[in-house]
């Protein structure tokens, strides 16, 4: 329970100070530090990243989601083929999916050409891959539970109320 509470807090704000987390949960700093260390060791916490709206940053970038159909390999299922795909730096995420295709691959690049090159010369030629279908992202509205464009709303409540 404590671990889940810590994870929820860190998922929203990984930069929060540990003593604040401890106060919020009514625990000691020591207890929180131990729990986090365990979560890191168990790879429950896989890293601490920052949620960036690249559309607003001064950087050229395009991302795409690629639906991939594959032939599973004997004894290794999808693992081996997933590994071959996720080792590419261009690949930001790989999920095994239910439904009409097998793997969902998220790819980032600086422009459409770069992504097209990656798919046609690196991804598609992999033996087990039967077909790919690429969808370019036009606009991101919400990411990781955060509405990216949201401007901070003013507190419209009265200053004092009963």
């Amino acid at each position: 329970m404590l671990k889940n509470d810590i994870l929820e807090i860190l998922e929203n704000n990984s930069r929060i100070k540990i003593n604040d987390v401890a106060t919020m949960l009514g625990k000691s700093e020591e207890e929180v530090n131990v729990a986090i260390a365990e979560l890191e060791a168990d790879n429950v916490i896989c890293g601490y990243s920052t949620l960036i709206n690249w559309d607003k940053a001064d950087k050229q970038y395009v991302s795409a989601m690629v639906e991939v159909k594959v032939t599973p390999q004997r004894e290794q299922g999808f693992e081996k083929i997933a590994e071959r795909i996720y080792k590419f730096d261009e690949v930001k995420a790989v999920y095994l999916m239910s439904g009409g295709f097998d793997l969902l691959v998220m790819v980032d690049g600086k422009d459409i050409k770069e992504i097209a090159y990656f798919i046609s010369s690196k991804l598609s030629p992999i033996d087990a891959i039967l077909s790919t279908s690429t969808h370019f992202v036009l606009k991101k509205y919400k990411d990781h539970g955060v509405i990216v464009e949201k401007n901070k709303k003013d507190d419209e409540r009265m200053i004092v109320s009963p």
Binding site: D5, T23, R157, I159, V160, S161
Partner: protein, 391 residues
């Protein structure tokens, strides 16, 4: 010739404006004020509830509902009371949908009080009880709860206030402004004491969803023999962050609800239809949002309490509503002085405990319906102020 004010009913003319309102007028004039003074959630109403309201408007559901409120909503309210406080009410006859719990308070007194009847009102508490009793022709008898009891009302205190005119005991728990709650044991004692008394309990349980720690809210109505002499008042404002929707309800024995309904029928007609439509969604499907908000409040509560303890102010571990009620007696200032100086010198608005009852003197009400960042910012400024005063 008479002046306009000469026409005003004397009772109303002599009724003071709420102490909080005076303070609001001052605070509102200043720029850059950080406030811990608000008595409403900072969360927006959960989207499914708002979405349901929009949908109902699109569908043209814009007529009056039945006086007592949509039967579907009353049914869901009865289900909710059954699953939370374990008291069974007949939605057709024992539940009334009101314009906020505030209307429920007013209706309760107007339906029950005869001239000269006494109503015991524990203080510190919400500002409207006393004026509502007076408007209904009754006599408010203030019971001053004590800091050393963590502002819980006790049987001995109630007994002291009872006369042969006592008709109603008001129970405002979880309490605004102290954050105090009455747990099962406290209530059991009160219920046992009231068992053979002809006294009706008006139980204002608007903060029932906001209790922290192991124990969930318990209602006096759930004790043996008490259902028949308790009016349970509750609403959607605090639990579902729906203050502006103005929607509450009363549940109680048929005869009393029916009397309240009569007044409601003539004065109000029915609670706002769009709000009622939205409330069905809230009470049926939005428990998880309430859980999430409660969890968030609880974290803020701990942060705020630690802040006060760190600056050397006593602050009991209040387990209800979204207020802490630290004592500022060690500063040597009165509540009013403390709040006024804090406002002018550090631009932080908190509510003087004395504005909510005499026994609130020496305390300030601080709401944690703010983000952790805002709370920490305000605490820093209060700490600077306290240090300056204490030297």
């Amino acid at each position: 010739m008479k002046k306009a004010e000469d026409y005003i009913n004397k009772k109303v003319l002599n009724m003071p404006f709420s102490g909080i309102r005076k303070f609001f007028d001052v605070a509102n004039e200043l720029e850059g004020v950080i406030s811990l003074g608000v008595g409403e959630p900072d969360f927006d109403t959960p989207w499914p509830i708002r979405e349901k309201a929009i949908y109902s408007l699109e569908k043209g559901k814009t007529n009056y509902t039945s006086n007592a409120g949509l039967l579907e909503l009353r049914g869901e309210i009865a289900n909710y009371l059954d699953r939370t406080i374990h008291v069974v009410y007949d939605p057709a006859k024992e539940v009334l949908v009101t314009v906020g719990a505030s209307e429920g308070i007013d209706l309760s007194f107007r339906a029950l009080v005869e001239p000269g009847d006494e109503v015991i009102i524990p203080e510190p508490s919400f500002v409207c009880y006393k004026p509502c009793v007076e408007m209904a022709g009754g006599i408010p008898v203030v019971l001053e709860t004590k800091a050393e009891n963590e502002f819980k009302v006790t049987v001995e205190e109630i007994e002291e206030k009872i006369t042969d005119k006592t008709k109603i005991l008001l129970l405002p728990y979880p309490n605004n402004p102290t954050g105090a709650i009455l747990d099962r044991e406290d209530l059991k004692k009160i219920a046992d004491f009231l068992k053979d008394k002809d006294i009706i309990v008006v139980s204002d349980e608007i903060y029932s969803e906001l209790t922290y720690g192991e124990n969930k809210h318990v209602s006096i109505a759930s004790f043996e023999g008490m259902r028949e002499k308790t009016i349970v008042l509750n609403g959607f404002s605090k639990s579902y962050a729906m203050t502006g929707w103005r929607l509450g309800y009363a549940a109680g024995p048929e005869a009393i609800i029916s009397a309240m309904m009569k007044i409601h029928q003539y004065c109000i007609m029915c609670a706002p239809t769009t709000s009622q439509q939205a409330a069905v969604e809230a009470i049926k499907n939005c428990d998880k949002y309430v859980d999430k908000m409660r969890k968030e409040y609880d974290m803020r509560r701990r942060v705020m309490r630690k802040g006060f303890l760190d600056m050397g102010l006593e602050c009991f571990d209040a387990k209800g509503a979204f207020y802490l009620f630290p004592s500022i007696k060690s500063t040597g200032l009165s509540s009013d002085e403390f709040c006024e100086r804090l406002l002018f010198e550090e631009r932080v608005a908190v509510v003087p405990g004395s504005a909510l009852g005499k026994s609130g003197e020496g305390h300030i009400r601080c709401s944690y319906a703010y983000s952790i960042e805002e709370i920490k910012q305000a605490l820093e400024k209060i700490a600077v102020f306290v240090k300056k005063i204490k030297g």
